[in-house]
């Protein structure tokens, strides 16, 4: 298409969270703040601006602090209406208003969300991640100082999170493997046959895959180098998941296989596309190989089911001949993290603990990236010719839906899938560039 030269990214203006992997393992904290006094709010932004991690220096410290604002947060800071109106419609509406579209219904519906998630009270999100508790404590102290003695600010929600050294999350699977490379970030693709995404797919102010600039809020200084962030607290019903598999498997190996078929990868992270019959932890842990695959040689899904979570979430080359969809328009940076204690191995009874994933997305297009993937690929099966099936692991299943595992001589069908993931709340945020933060801090209402 149009020839756009590889952009020079203004790394010192871009918050680190979108472009760079976090240290592994890490510990972290998410804070949500409410602004009752806009001058105090702007003072917070001024202080945070000094300690937020940009994409140039964060590498060296092992600690990152990321800041993002909801629509109501920007309004509370005194951003002019004209500028507020220039943000993406989904962002302006907020996540709770999108519940019906996103499939956040029943147990996942906003009326059951943790307070104050999804409400107009949530203004600022601050995420602090560090290699170790000491680093986290230090960074958290800085964040505390940023809002200390500002009576017009309240911390309204807090959630600690972490990544295990194994990278495993609550269902037992290594997560955070499949990520697109971004042009200009200096980080190579983990899938050699896949060109890095145009920077404008992730960051505002650069051309995207359509050859155009993504719609950007005004004024330019506010939008440029920013990115939209999707934040969702997703509770995982680990005991129910284990029992579901146990009841349908005769052996431990079969249980592992069914679990892997649902995800598209084995627990170690090894992709079914490369090792369909048994886990290969060496492969799973090898970042040079564990993302180097496609599905074109497996159109019917005998190795990796077409309905598996990771294949739905990123069909790679599987839809190349469909003519209806350009997979590159539906990628995302994921920065998910674990919360709550892991359910000990082998336990099949629910212990009542809250555990799961803080799902975090970064991208320039809420609608055609996050909402498209969630609604068309995870919540629906039209695109794979199975309208009655949803994502078996994370989809809004209701106890009547099923999952087809292609197999010779005959396919296996899992029935009566209950929901294994419940939305506890979330919000759409905007993570501005550093200049934009300065602009916000200096607003004169």
């Amino acid at each position: 298409m149009t020839d756009v030269a590889s952009p020079h990214l203004e790394l010192d203006d871009i918050q680190a969270g979108a472009l760079f992997e976090r240290p592994s393992p890490y510990v972290g904290t998410y804070l949500l703040l409410h602004i009752t006094d806009s001058a105090d709010g702007r003072e917070l932004v001024r202080r945070l601006h000094r300690i937020v991690s940009d994409s140039q220096t964060s590498d060296r410290t092992g600690t990152t602090l990321t800041v993002a604002f909801s629509y109501h947060g920007l309004r509370a800071l005194g951003v002019p209406q004209e500028s507020l109106d220039s943000f993406a419609p989904e962002f302006r509406e907020g996540m709770a208003a999108r519940a019906a579209v996103l499939g956040d219904v029943g147990e996942s519906s906003p009326e059951h969300w943790e307070r104050p998630l999804g409400s107009a009270e949530v203004h600022v999100a601050v995420a602090v991640l560090s290699r170790d508790p000491a680093g986290l404590e230090e960074a958290a102290e800085k964040a505390r100082q940023a809002h200390a003695e500002l009576p017009g600010l309240q911390v309204v929600w807090r959630q600690d999170c972490y990544q295990l050294p194994t990278g495993r999350t609550s269902f037992g699977f290594k997560d955070g493997i499949g990520q697109p490379a971004v042009e200009g970030s200096g980080r190579p693709s983990t899938r050699p046959q896949e060109q890095p995404l145009k920077a404008g797919e992730i960051l505002l102010g650069y051309p995207d895959e359509t050859g155009e600039l993504p719609p950007m809020p005004t004024p330019q200084v506010l939008g440029r180098n920013g990115t939209y962030v999707v934040f969702r607290k997703l509770h995982t019903k680990v005991a129910a998941y284990r029992r579901y598999l146990r009841e349908r498997a005769r052996t431990h190996d079969e249980e592992e296989l069914l679990g892997a078929k649902m995800v598209g990868r084995w627990q170690s992270g090894a992709p079914l596309a490369l090792t369909p019959d048994r886990d290969d932890p060496g492969l799973g842990g090898d970042a040079r190989r564990n993302n180097d695959f496609g599905f074109a040689d497996d159109p019917r899904g005998f190795k990796c089911p077409v309905g598996a979570h990771a294949r739905r979430a990123n069909p790679r080359d599987a839809l190349d001949h469909d003519g209806s969809v350009d997979v590159r328009l539906h990628r995302m940076i994921r920065r998910g993290t674990s919360y709550g204690p892991m359910l000990p191995r082998g336990v099949l009874e629910d212990d009542g603990a809250d555990r799961g994933i803080l799902f975090v997305f970064a991208g320039a297009h809420l609608k055609r990236q996050f909402e498209f993937v969630k609604t068309q690929w995870l919540n629906d099966g039209i695109f794979i010719g199975a309208p009655a099936e949803k994502d078996p692991l994370v989809g809004p299943n209701d106890g009547t839906t099923g999952f087809t595992v292609p197999r010779r001589p005959i396919r296996r069908k899992l029935h009566d899938l209950p929901p294994f993931v419940v939305t506890r709340g979330g919000e759409y945020f905007f993570a501005p560039g550093l200049n934009a933060m300065r602009w916000l801090a200096e607003l004169t209402p």
Partner: protein
Amino acid sequence: MTTSSTASSHPGISVGPTSEFSLFFRVKPGQGPSLRSALEELQNTEGYRPGDYGMAIQTIHEARFVLFDEDTRLAFITSFDGPWDAYMEDFFTSGPTLALFDVIFRHVEGYDGLPDLAAVKAFVLSAEQAAAAYARNYGGTVKEIRKAERVNAAFQQVLDHPAAAELLEHPAMQPLLDEAGD
């Protein structure tokens, strides 16, 4: 305030997984004949010849271009799987589809040509009219229909086997036996 989800971003009605989609254009003065021959050419392209069943967009059930009002107007009418709204961007960046449409659209008013995608998008959206009524006679997606056709062809092959009747005697085969009589 949040007005974008009005008619323009949700054109078309859906029945089950399938949506209807119709565009109406005015033909540039004097271009009726050249548009007609461009459509004839399209009709003779591989994939678009009657019986080829191989349109570039594989989620489309069928599509037609209709010239009317003495070739002064053009309609493009189709049904496809999935919500149009979600797939709009893909359509506008899909090379083969755009190239094909480019050949047709250049004969109608308001089209400024590629590669200004934003302009093409605005142009197509402005030509869209949602149906006032829409019905379908089967519920499946194109992918399911194709699979069903393959399965039926295989079933017919099995029925042609001399031992078919005997094989279908097994109680588990009853649903297939019920379909085997005609």
